[in-house]
């Protein structure tokens, strides 16, 4: 695969949330507002790309038998780096994302890419793969959180866009809404990709 294909792969063909359907805990919990969705997406891009790069650099030095623990340590380190940086520089977003920031370490996507790609490929390719998957994750977050914020709060990025008369659909920002809307979103993606193949 050439560089562009690697990137596109992460965003569309093998989109971590909409296609591979992994790492959904944060997706369901965080997406009550667009700014939160974007914040989490960017955090994941940072951790995923960072760990992909480091693991790729070290791939010849990490023995196969201990690769999983090694990945976990590196991913946990990057998660903590992002945690500290957000705690210091993006405080309100840090508070909004709460426990889901340290939970980035158990986001299956990151471990999966380390194992499936970064451990077996060069640094540049791994960087692009990390960015691609991360952006794919961000795109899914943006889609879901925009829908949830508009329906459940009548706003986007905090700005009221639906008329005052609109009674917010409370369910959209509550747990059931998260499950249902994500399910419908995946259904929509399935439908569009099947039509494309036909």
């Amino acid at each position: 695969m050439n560089k562009l294909e690697i990137f596109k792969n992460g965003v569309t063909t093998e989109n971590p949330i909409l296609v591979q359907q992994v790492g959904m805990c944060a997706t369901l919990a965080i997406t009550t507002s667009l700014i939160n969705g974007i914040g989490m997406g960017v955090a994941v891009i940072a951790v995923l790309t960072g760990s992909n790069i480091v693991i790729s650099i070290l791939r010849k030095y990490i023995p196969d038998e201990v690769r999983i623990p090694a990945f976990v340590i590196i991913i946990a380190a990057f998660t903590t780096i992002i945690d500290l940086l957000m705690h210091a520089y993006t405080f309100s977003l840090y508070k909004a994302l709460g426990v889901f920031i340290p939970l980035i370490v158990v986001n299956c996507i990151i471990l999966a890419r380390a194992e499936a790609f970064a451990f077996k490929n060069g640094v540049l390719d791994s960087t692009i793969d990390g960015l691609g998957m991360g952006v794919g994750y961000l795109v899914a977050m943006i889609l879901l959180s925009s829908v949830r914020e508009v329906l459940g709060n009548g706003s986007i990025l905090g700005f009221r866009i639906l008329p005052e008369a609109y009674e917010p659909m409370m369910m959209a920002v509550q747990p059931p809404g998260a499950f249902i809307l994500l399910g419908l979103l995946i259904g929509l993606v399935n439908y569009l990709s099947r039509r494309k193949k036909a």
């Binding site: 919990a29 009550t32 070290l58 030095y61 990490i62 023995p63 038998e65 201990v66 623990p69 090694a70 340590i73 590196i74 946990a76 380190a77 903590t80 780096i81 500290l84 940086l85 705690h87 210091a88 520089y89 405080f91 508070k95 709460g98 459940g152 409370m170 920002v173 509550q174 747990p175």
Partner: protein, 189 residues
Amino acid sequence: MKNNFVKLAGILFLIAAISAGVLAWLNDTTKDLIAQNEAMASMDPAILEAVMPGSTAFMEKDADLAETIKADNSKFINLLTAVDESGNELGKVVRTLSTVKGFSGDLELYVGFTPDGQISGVSVISHSETEGVGSRVTLPAFTDQFIGRDASGEISYSDYDAVSGATYSSESFLSAVNNAIAIYTEYVK
């Protein structure tokens, strides 16, 4: 075999040590900024305005009294004085935790009192309630009902409007308000 094991453990240890080192450095670098953020969180102008309209700062002027209260009341955090930009005192503010746990732990509140013993405003500083459900106790639609209430005695459960579907969070909120009222009537008035 044993040699191999030592080598594997050694590599893992090395990776862990380097990671810990990087984190230690970063932790040190950001420590002050983080502490500042946590302190500032409760000094957000929007919160100040909501708790005591017109105030620009909450100052610690009753340190001794605060110590006394703290010894007696484990949920009490601090007693502050709200001032406006000219330095005029507008009233007292009690910072307290709830005495009854919410959905997920305690709520932390500011409860402001006017000099004639009425609640000037209430604001949540921190909570871990469920987004979209219990978190609605932070909204003015809920907190506004406490403004103007007389701080003469406890507000009973039948005397206020809980957030529908968030009984735990609402009652936890009320317990914090009542704790503030109790502290105000006993120590400050």
